[in-house]
Symmetry: C2
Subunit: 329 residues, 2 copies
C-alpha cells in the first residue's frame, strides 16, 4: 500500500482521464469526485472506477469532451443536458446554480438528462447543505430490480440522497440505494465460492436464490419488499421519466465500455430553509441532538466524516497495483 | 352490514362532525376524505376515524372551526397554516393552488404546518396527478420509530406518497409508510393473543420482540432496517423540520382526545412535466406498460381503483354498529 495526498490522488486520476479523450476541466471534476469518495471510505465509487471510466471515454461511450449545458425554462427549474459526458461536470453545474434559484423561488429543481454514473449520491446534496440549503437527489441507474411479483429488471438500484445543514457542524447526509444490498456483495460471495442469504436476490425466474451465480443472472432484492420496489418505481419516474432520461431498462452499463451511452438521469430538489420557517437549521440540530442522546444511535453519514478527516490529515492509503493500473492507462 | 351511497356516507360523517364543533365547510372536507378512503378499501383511514375526530373537535384538540391560511412567501412556495384544524381543508387548499404555482415555476412546494392526520397520503398527490402534475407528499406522524441502534421513538411512521399521470387512465399512485407493518397489525395480534414475527417491532429496550404487548410499549421496526430509519429521518426533517411543524416526539396522538394539538406537518412538491421534457406522460405510460407486461406484476395502487369503482357502482358496505356509533356522536 502507498500513501497519496488528496492532491496527488487527484493528479493521478485527472492525468489518466486526460490521456483518454477527456478534456482537462472534465478530468478535474471527475478526479475531485472519485478522490472525495475514496477519502470518505466509499471505495466502490472511488479510484476503482478510473480504469472503467477511462475505457468508456476512450471509445466514446462517455464523451469526455462534452460540456454540460444548462437552461432555465421556468423560474424554479434548471434543465441540464449532460450531453453524454461524465455526470460530475453536470452535477457541479447544478450545484453552482441551484442556490440562487432556491433562494429566489423558495424551492428549485435541477433535472439532469443524458447523464452517467452519479457516484456518491450524498456528495452533491452535502455540498448544497454546506451552502445552507436542504436538498434531495434521486438518480436512476441501469436495470437491477424487477417489479414486485415480476422477474424482469426495469428499475435500477436507484439511489436516494438527502442532506440538511446543522448549526456549526457538518450537515446530516442520508445516502442509500433501494436494493437490499449492493451487487458487489454478491460478486464477492461468488469469488469466495459461498452461498448468499436468501433475501438478497432473485434468480431469472423471480424466485429467491442463495446461489450467487443465479443471483447475478437474475435481479436484486429491494429493501423492504414491495415497498422498496414502489420507491424504486417512484425514483425511476422522477429521475428518468420526468427528467427525460433513459429508463433503467434502456440504459447501458456504467461499468463496461460496450454499447451506447447510458443516458440516465438525476433530479435534485433544493429548498431554502429561510423561506419556510424562521428557525430551520436550529430545529434540524434539535432532532440531531435527540438522536445522538441515545446510546448506540448516531446520525447517518458520520463514518464518512471520520474517514474524510483521516484522509485529509494523513492522506489516502491506496494499493500499489491500483496506482500502477491507473498510471498505465 | 348496511349499504350506503357515497353521498349518504358523506352526509353521515359531515353531520356527526357538525354536531361536534366543526364548521360545515370543514366537516364536508373531512367527510369527503374519510369516505374516499373507505371507498378505496383503506378502512384504517375511513369511517373508523369519525368518532376519534369528533371527540378531538369537541374538546378543541383539533379546531373544527379553523380556516387554513395560505401565503406565498416566494414564487414557488405556498406556506399553509392549518391553524390546528383538520388537515383535509389545508390539503384541499394546497391542491387548489399548487397547479398554478407548478406550471408557472416548473416546480412548486406546499408546506403545511400546525396540521393533523393527513389520512390517505396518496389521495392529495393522486388529485394533483389527475390535473397533470407529478407530485410527492411527505408527512410526519406522532412517535413510532427509534433511530437505528437506539430505543426511544423520535420518528413517526412517516408516509411517503407519489403520483404521476398516465395517458388516458388513472395515475400511478405510490403510498407507503416507513414502518415494516402498520401498528394495527400488532394491536390485532394482541387481541387474538398471538405472537408477532420478530421483525415487526422492538421492545422498550430496543430489542426485537415477538410479544405484541412489549411491542406496543416499544417502537415499530422500519422497513428495510437502517435504510428505512434513514428515510424516516429524511421525512421528519423535510415534513416537520423544514416546514416548521412539530417533530414526531413533540406531537400528541392523532387517535385520542387528550393533550394539545399534534401540530404535525406535510410537505407536497409538485412538478409540471411539460416544463421538464416534451413527452413525460407518454414515457410514464411506457414504464407502466413494461411493468404490466410481466406476469404477476402490477402497478401499485390498482387495488384501490377497483375498490373505488365497486363503491361508486354499488355503494359502501358499512357495519351497522359503526353507523349507529357515528349517528350517536
Amino acid at each position: 500500500m502507498t500513501t497519496l495526498s488528496i492532491q496527488q490522488a487527484q493528479s493521478l486520476v485527472a492525468g489518466a482521464l486526460e490521456r483518454n479523450a477527456t478534456a482537462p476541466a472534465n478530468a478535474a471534476a471527475v478526479a475531485r469526485a472519485l478522490v472525495a469518495a475514496e477519502a470518505d471510505g466509499l471505495k466502490g465509487h472511488g479510484l476503482s472506477r478510473v480504469s472503467s471510466y477511462a475505457a468508456q471515454a476512450k471509445v466514446g461511450k462517455v464523451d469526455g469532451r462534452a460540456a454540460p449545458l444548462a437552461s432555465r425554462p421556468r423560474p424554479a427549474l434548471l434543465s441540464v443536458d449532460a450531453a453524454h459526458g461524465f455526470a460530475y461536470p453536470a452535477l457541479d453545474l447544478a450545484i453552482a446554480r441551484l442556490p440562487e434559484i432556491a433562494r429566489e423561488c423558495g424551492v428549485g429543481a435541477a433535472a439532469i438528462r443524458r447523464s452517467h454514473h452519479c457516484g456518491v449520491a450524498g456528495a452533491p446534496v452535502e455540498r448544497l447543505a454546506e451552502g445552507g440549503l436542504v436538498a434531495l437527489l434521486l438518480a436512476n441507474t441501469p436495470s437491477a430490480m424487477a417489479p414486485w411479483g415480476g422477474d424482469k429488471a426495469v428499475f435500477g438500484t436507484n439511489p436516494v440522497a438527502f442532506a440538511c445543514p446543522l448549526p456549526d457542524r457538518a450537515p446530516i447526509v442520508v445516502d442509500l440505494s433501494l436494493s437490499k444490498v449492493a451487487r458487489g456483495n454478491i460478486v464477492a460471495a461468488k469469488q469466495r465460492g459461498e452461498a448468499i442469504p436468501d433475501d438478497w436476490a432473485f434468480d431469472a425466474k423471480g424466485a429467491p436464490t442463495t446461489d450467487p451465480e443465479a443471483a447475478l443472472g437474475g435481479t436484486m432484492a429491494p429493501l423492504g419488499g414491495a415497498k422498496g420496489v414502489a420507491l424504486a418505481l417512484m425514483v425511476e419516474l422522477l429521475a428518468a421519466g420526468l427528467v427525460g432520461a433513459n429508463f433503467a431498462s434502456e440504459a447501458s452499463s456504467f461499468l463496461d465500455a460496450t454499447g451506447g451511452p447510458p443516458g440516465t438521469g438525476q433530479l435534485i430538489v433544493a429548498f431554502d430553509p429561510d423561506a419556510f420557517a424562521a428557525n430551520g437549521p436550529a430545529r434540524f440540530g434539535g432532532l440531531a441532538a435527540m438522536i445522538e442522546a441515545q446510546e448506540g444511535a448516531r446520525l447517518p453519514g458520520r463514518r464518512r466524516l471520520e474517514s474524510r478527516a483521516r484522509a485529509q490529515a494523513h492522506g489516502l492509503t491506496v494499493a500499489e497495483g491500483l496506482i500502477a493500473e491507473i498510471e498505465a492507462l
